[in-house]
């Protein structure tokens, strides 16, 4: 009975995999397809859903204030500048914190607001995705991990903020900012030239 033998192995492997949290990665979202919906509260207790943003262009930024790659873009003012540029161009900018309770980067609503104030950040809202449901739906892997959604609710960009995957602020000057490029393509009515890139940074602390 081959099955008996194999089944023992299977049960073992499945149990092991479950223990390690392996193989539970969710399906990745797709470019030019409707972006996954979400329902997450912001620091003011308001609930945000993608369905409630119909007709608006949206940028999602996964963040973790302690991650050196996030620090690179905030300490240099790069992220804040991009946030202002985007919101002035009519984008809804949502910064998402998916760190689970007790994990590094997890903050209370008040702490998140303090971070926004002290860093001079300009997102439309900061979402507290403590359950990680939104992060998993988007397959968000790193901080920062950037997503651009067009006004029809389709995902048009996902990946890194730029093409210099380092934590060194000096690299910002010579980098091509993929989010800015995607915004330019959308403004010109063109499809996004580079819709998928490698996100770089620290892992999201689910």
């Amino acid at each position: 009975m081959k099955h008996a033998f194999r089944n023992t192995l299977v049960v073992g492997v499945v149990a092991l995999a479950a223990t390690l949290g392996f193989g539970v990665a969710v399906a990745a979202p797709k470019i030019d397809a409707p972006a996954p919906d979400f329902s997450v509260v912001d620091t003011a207790g308001e609930t945000w859903t993608l369905g409630g943003l119909v007709g608006k262009k949206v940028i999602l930024e996964w963040t973790n204030h302690d991650c050196p790659f996030v620090v690179k873009h905030y300490a240099s003012g790069n992220m804040q500048a991009l946030q202002k540029e985007a919101t002035e161009a009519g984008y809804v900018w949502l910064s998402v914190i998916s760190s689970a309770s007790g994990k590094q980067g997890h903050v209370s609503p008040a702490e998140a607001d303090d971070l926004t104030d002290s860093r001079g950040a300009a997102p439309t809202a900061v979402l507290l995705d403590t359950s990680g449901a939104m992060g998993r739906a988007y397959d968000a892997k790193t901080t920062p991990h950037m997503y651009v959604i067009d006004s029809e609710g389709n995902l048009v960009y996902m990946g890194g903020i730029d093409d210099k995957p380092t934590s060194n602020q000096a690299d910002i000057a010579g980098a091509s900012n993929y989010v800015r490029l995607a915004m330019a393509d959308l403004a010109a009515g063109n499809p996004v030239t580079t819709p998928v890139t490698r996100p770089y940074g620290c892992s999201v602390k689910y």
Binding site: V14, Y200, V204
Partner: protein, 679 residues
């Protein structure tokens, strides 16, 4: 953590190359990263400041490990990693002038959080004075260190690998020429981000001359370079790694035959399994009594007695081997006849299940001491005190016969393997199994002195024997459960009634054995009647039908399913409705695990509903020619089988070990409006 840069030689020579090592000693729990760091992280980088003409090669990347981080995975290193760098000095470098180099390294080290670190390393390497163009001696203190560092480097490069789309995933097919066939574990590290999902499982199997690994495609799977590092472990735990440069293209036609273990290993398992059979509660009493009779009855000195002992041993071995040969021929004949020989297929026949439950129950009773069966079995084998070679032959055949039900857990792999082989090899495997069973007795007959090595009989044997009754009862309980799925509560009532009758028959036989002949005859008659009734109840289960699933019934998995029928499937395909087919059986544990793990999640139920998927469930617990034919169409002879038919496009066969992710992915790739670039 600490970092340093060291050279293998204390002196270098013009025109030569010296190996440098960038060494990271990493605190426990922290990691640095491979060239593709996986889902996050960053590999170390080095900026060199070198004199003109001196060149530093790229960093070497020892074999990494997979570091799971929640639902994500990184490729990296823990404890210590050594990156080697080849430094070459031009031929016209002035002798005697030291080479001064500087390395500015940046690296990221992460535990839960990450710290970017950097270091500046200055090295001054003297060039040999007057010694001409000869490199200095290898620094003995460094030699061992460098040798250890090289162990982790790739063992070679494999050409001719193919990467292609397979259903909802990717298949990587690697020629085995370079690898040994005795692979016990395999993992593919993608060389670039985006090729695969780093955290996904990588089921692998050996096909004719190839290793095949199933991968989940990443976000850039059609653009990322199809290369990386293959890490394989053999049965002894030795790990080797190979650079793999795959070519994108269609995968070779997959032969529906997996080889979970290699040929030499199968023979070893077969022999070992045969040996273990001797310890089985159903074989051991026979062997023990036979051995005792041999030692006691034939312990005479001289060539005559020795000759008779050997004759006994050979006859016994022949009996065992003939039985196994017969079993092999039967098996192969069934296979040749096109019968659906999937292991467990017998369990589709309810009377067989009942019969097996009876067998295990009686063996259990016998072991626990409630009844004594040994003597009768022995006489059945014609093995009363050494009654000649014919008796020995009979005992051998009997031992093999009673061993057959016990073979499953030990022999499963070897037998399963044998069925897939050409018939001479299959026969050889079966005979090896038989030889393993016969071996202890054969040895005893050749060297009777070995009997002294047998453990001394004593009270422990009785305790062990009684303890062994419980696995037998457990097996009987499991079989009753299988029957309950096949025939519903009526079948359970029949089998439980049969078990009571069986116990009564054995008790009656036991009580009346020593009585005067008339009463004994009554006892025997009563025993026989009860036995016949029990058997009749068992056969009667065949007329019962399984409790049928009514249409649209919500199964335990929370998904509304309909019973599979070819007509229903064809109709849905015609209507361009997506269909998910699940072929399962109550006695298939893999199926049940998959249904719990992958098919019961609310996400799956929702995605089925959203995509309007028709869920067809084929229950192979009982024989069903339509399902057998469907399995055969897909090159299978057993369950589970999962096939997803998108509304348009080719059906996809999903892996036998299913995850929620695979199901969601299959449904999503076919969902309308998702014909995106990586669909």
């Amino acid at each position: 953590m600490t970092a340093r840069l060291v050279a293998e030689r204390s002196e270098i020579a013009p025109g030569e190359t010296v190996d440098l090592a960038l060494v990271f000693e990493i605190r426990p729990g922290w990691h640095t990263y491979w060239r593709n760091p996986g889902d996050s992280g960053d590999p170390p980088r080095v900026e060199w400041t070198l004199p003109e003409g001196v060149e530093a090669g790229p960093l070497s990347w020892p074999r990494p490990e997979v570091i799971p981080v929640g639902p994500l995975a990184n490729y990296g290193y823990s404890e210590r990693v050594v990156h080697l760098i080849a430094l070459s000095v031009p031929a016209d470098w002035p002798i005697g002038e030291p080479v001064r180099i500087r390395a500015d390294a940046d690296w990221l080290v992460c535990e839960e959080h990450c710290i970017p670190e950097s270091g500046r390393f200055d090295l001054t390497l003297p060039t040999g004075a007057g010694a001409g163009a000869r490199p200095g001696p290898i620094d003995p203190a460094q030699a061992e260190f460098f040798a250890a560092a090289r162990v982790g480097l790739p063992n070679g490069r494999i050409e001719g690998a193919a990467l292609g789309v397979a259903g909802a995933g990717l298949g990587l097919v690697i020629p085995l020429d370079e690898l040994s066939e005795e692979i016990d574990g395999a993992w593919f590290f993608a060389g670039e981000w985006g090729l695969i999902e780093h955290a996904a499982e990588q089921p692998w199997r050996l096909l004719d001359g190839h290793l095949r690994i199933d991968l989940l495609p990443g976000a850039l799977s059609d653009q990322a370079a199809p290369d990386g590092l293959l890490v394989v472990a053999d049965a002894l735990g030795e790990v080797r790694s190979y650079e793999v440069a795959a070519v994108r293209g269609p995968l070779p036609e997959e032969v529906a035959r997996d080889r979970p273990i290699g040929l030499p290993l199968a023979f070893a398992f077969a022999l070992l399994g045969g040996l273990i059979l001797n310890l089985m509660p159903c074989v051991f009493p026979i062997l023990a009594m036979k051995a005792l009779s041999l030692v006691n009855g034939l312990s005479g000195q001289g060539p005559e007695a020795a000759r008779e002992r050997v004759l006994h041993g050979v006859a016994y071995t022949t009996g065992v081997l003939l039985f196994f040969a017969g079993l092999a021929v039967l098996l192969l004949a069934l296979r040749a006849g096109g019968a659906a020989v999937g292991w467990g297929f017998q369990l589709q026949y309810p009377p067989f299940v009942v019969f097996m439950a009876y067998v295990f129950f009686v063996i259990g009773l016998s072991l626990s001491g409630a009844v004594t069966l040994g003597a009768r079995l022995m006489s059945l084998g014609g093995a009363r005190t050494g009654s000649g070679t014919a008796g020995a032959f009979g005992t051998g055949a009997l031992a093999a016969l009673v061993a057959a039900p016990c073979t499953a857990p030990f022999m499963g792999a070897a037998l399963g393997y044998a069925v897939t082989l050409s018939w001479p090899l299959a026969l050889a495997i079966m005979l090896t199994l038989g030889f393993g069973l016969a071996l202890p007795f054969l040895l005893l007959s050749l060297v009777p002195q070995l009997a002294r090595l047998l453990p001394k009989p004593g009270a422990w044997m009785e305790t062990l024997k009684q303890a062994l009754a419980f696995p037998m009862f457990a097996a009987a309980a499991w079989l009753v459960w299988v029957l309950s799925v096949q025939t519903g509560s009526a079948g359970v009532a029949l089998v439980l009634g049969g078990l009571v009758l069986l116990a009564f028959a054995l008790w009656l036989r036991e009580r009346t054995r020593g009585l005067p002949s008339v009463r004994r005859r009554w006892g025997l008659a009563g025993t026989s009647a009860a036995l016949i009734c029990a058997l009749y109840l068992g056969v009667a289960t065949d007329r019962l039908t399984a409790p049928t699933l009514s249409e649209g019934e919500v199964s335990a998995s929370g998904l509304a399913s309909e019973p599979y029928s070819p007509e229903r499937l064809a109709a849905a395909i015609d209507a361009r409705r997506p269909v998910f087919v699940n072929m399962t059986a109550a006695w298939c544990i893999t199926c049940l695990v998959n249904e719990r793990v992958a098919l019961s999640a609310s996400d799956v139920a929702r995605s089925f509903t959203d995509a309007g998927v028709l869920y067809l469930k084929g229950d192979w617990t009982n024989r069903d020619p339509a399902i057998t034919a469907y399995l055969a169409d897909h090159g299978r002879n057993g369950v589970p089988l999962y096939v997803f038919y998108p509304a348009d496009g080719d059906p996809q066969v999903l892996p036998q070990i299913l995850t929620e992710d695979m199901v969601l992915r299959a449904i999503r790739t076919s969902a309308p409006g998702s014909s995106g670039r990586d669909g």
